[in-house]
Amino acid sequence: MIGIIDYHLNNLRSVQKAFEKVGAESFISDNAAELRKADKLILPGVGAFGQAMLNLQSLGLDTVVKEHAASGKYLLGICLGMQLLFTKSYELGDFNGLNLVNGEVKIFPSTVKVPHMGWNQVEIVRQSPILNGVEEKSFVYFVHSYFVEPKENVTLTQTDYGFKFTSIIEQNNIFGIQFHPEKSQTTGLQLLKNFSKL
């Protein structure tokens, strides 16, 4: 069963609905005990990094995510949820993340429009089972002002926005997707289906 972590920032129904469409059962919860029972965890998210970490901590869910990752079970961060997996973010200050993936979260340079909003393409850097059936240069829906800069070789896909940034990561049992698979039609659903089958 897939647990979708609710840390009170946004609507999670569209994520759950997307899993329904690919035939995977999931539940939404903000309860640590319930989420500990999940085989796979989804850390979704929109909003600001600092507030997200505070909410996770106050619900005791940061520990749940860390324990889950350490146990070798699959974890997927989506959008802000992916950024939270990293060491540190500079969004509206300096904030420590969950530090499961070594790297930082930075704002886009002043040469491009921010937020990076709309449909952009994924370029496959390294193949992985989560990318099964995902075509090179597929369009997916992004909306974010910050991007991740991993320190290790975890990048599966990159995306061109004047320069290339990491759009999907894989580090052992930990995955992250910068865009919104639940809002990206067939390509997004394919990714979630692949994740549900890992």
Binding site: R13, S110, K113, G118, N120, Q185, L189
Partner: protein, 252 residues
């Protein structure tokens, strides 16, 4: 690279899609959820629902339409009309909207932009600006669905919205809205040059060339159109094929 977006706008009044001419004459054009599903399948990049009367007659907006749309469509959608407080925003976002659009409320209390951005992130705060030309190269901001003039200059207001944390500007030319004479390229260009956040062109689309001019001449990020799609003058697919033939990157 980032594709340019085509966004059908569903003006909603009492649960039905309508499209006015210069915001006055309304013609019934169908059920919002059915239209949303249709546009999703047809390749629209995003959708916007505007509850066109909510702001003026104190009616709160369309939670039910939002919930049902969130269940049925797999592209992002924005809700606007009658959103006055961060609680209204939260309710819309938690019901399944991806973004909220504010207009009158932002002008009356601009702090709502800051509060919305801080609470929910800049990515979901769209500020809609209704602009009316009052002199050469000068546009004023109107509120209450275009019925009330304000003292605000459109360019300065757009910049203030960006500073306060708006993630996107939905810029409607009231002079062009419903005319099918084309977007107000001069106005759009002024605003895209003045801000770094994405700008959606609105008001006046009548042909596919109009969409092209907005992208090519005014460098907007998205175009919003209603009548040309609602009355099947063009399909989204035709619009994209045309733009692609003009070397505008659109999603396949």
């Amino acid at each position: 690279m980032l594709a340019k977006r085509i966004i059908p706008c569903l003006d909603v009044d009492k649960g039905r899609v309508v499209k006015g001419t210069n915001f006055l004459e309304l013609i019934d054009a169908g059920d919002p959820i059915e239209q949303a599903k249709f546009y999703d399948r047809e390749g629209a990049d995003e959708l916007i629902f505007l509850d066109i009367t909510a702001s003026s007659d104190n009616r709160s907006t369309m939670i039910d339409v939002v919930r049902r749309t969130a269940e049925e469509v797999s592209i992002p959608f924005t809700i606007g009309g009658g959103i006055r407080t961060t609680d209204d925003m939260r309710e819309m976002l938690r019901s399944g909207a991806d973004k909220v659009s504010i207009n009158t409320a932002a002008v009356k209390n601009s702090q709502i932009i800051n509060n919305g951005a801080e609470n929910f992130g800049v990515q979901c705060i769209v500020v809609a600006i209704d602009a009316k030309k009052i002199a050469d190269d000068k546009w004023k901001v109107f509120i209450h669905g275009g019925r009330t003039e304000t003292e605000l200059d459109v360019i300065e207001w757009a910049q203030e919205c960006e500073q306060r944390g708006a993630g996107e500007i939905l810029l409607t030319s009231m002079d062009r809205d419903g005319t099918k004479d084309g977007y107000d390229i001069t106005l759009l260009k002024k605003v895209t040059n003045a801000v770094r956040i994405p700008v959606i062109a609105s008001g006046g689309a009548g042909t596919l060339e109009h969409l092209y001019y907005a992208f090519n001449d005014a460098d907007v990020d998205a175009v919003l159109a209603a009548s040309i799609f609602h009355f099947r003058q063009f399909t989204i697919k035709q619009a994209k094929e045309f733009l692609r033939s003009k070397n505008i990157l659109v999603r396949t």
